[in-house]
């Protein structure tokens, strides 16, 4: 995205809001077990923050999360998911059976840790995909 909607007011407002949006996204992912939330919702919030920075400051001014990096994030998310799932068979359980993880916690808490890990993977995937789709569509628009 080569152009930006930037003006000093928009720039100041987005700089003020960005850390809080990111923190809220992380909170929604992490706290998805005890309150409404989860990987998808948190990932969408974080992606919205990235897109906000893109809209206000353009590609050059904001974080340069290139499409390749976003693609790597996406694949890393799926990799975390499959990797946590494969820990089950390694420790003698079934695929995606988090109860087999060797942690000294109560049974329910072990499964909560496992599902928190896959929620983080899902959040990374959603963030990467939404950024990737936004970049692809916007750059196609610039090409005419």
């Amino acid at each position: 995205m080569n152009f930006a909607f930037g003006s000093p007011a928009l720039d100041a407002a987005s700089r003020l809001m960005t850390p809080f949006i990111l923190m809220f996204g992380a909170y929604v992912v992490m706290h998805g077990h005890d309150s409404p939330g989860g990987g998808f919702q948190g990932g969408v919030i974080i992606a919205a923050c990235v897109i906000l920075v893109r809209l206000v400051r353009g590609r050059a001014g904001g974080w340069n999360l290139s499409p390749e990096t976003a693609l790597a994030l996406t694949c890393a998310g799926v990799g975390i998911f499959v990797g946590v799932g494969l820990l089950g068979p390694i420790f003698g359980g079934n695929f995606l059976d988090y109860a087999a993880l060797p942690l000294s916690l109560k049974a329910g808490e072990v499964r909560a840790v496992g599902s928190l890990a896959i929620e983080i993977g899902v959040a990374l995937t959603v963030t990467g995909v939404l950024t990737l789709v936004f970049d692809a569509l916007v750059e196609a628009r610039n090409d005419g």
Binding site: G38, G39, L71, T74, V110, V113, T125, L132, V133
Partner: protein, 95 residues
């Protein structure tokens, strides 16, 4: 032309309205979707998955195969979007 194509949709609408009368009323605690498998999720979900939010418990634990497939779907969708539109670097001359 447009009028003619409305006829099957009006017929479908009549069928749907008639079928809505046969469904359990909205909010009925004894309806089939509320009595088949969901009581088990509600009764034991917090204890078994450690997640007070039962939606997260169902999504990430009981039905994590489902979520794995779905994560793969959106990963592939992002890849497809990038490959369809990111043709500039590969010298695509067709446009």
């Amino acid at each position: 032309m447009v009028r003619l194509s409305l006829i099957p949709f009006l017929a479908l609408g009549a069928i749907l309205v008639a079928a809505a009368g046969g469904l359990p009323p909205v909010g009925d605690p004894e309806s089939p979707p509320a009595t088949h498998v969901s009581p088990r999720y509600i009764m034991f979900g917090h204890e078994e998955t450690g997640a007070a939010n039962l939606v997260t418990g169902v999504l990430a634990d009981y039905r994590s195969y489902d979520t794995l497939g779905e994560t793969t779907v959106i990963c592939v969708a992002g890849l497809a979007c990038w490959l369809i539109l990111g043709s500039r670097s590969r010298g695509d001359k067709e446009r």
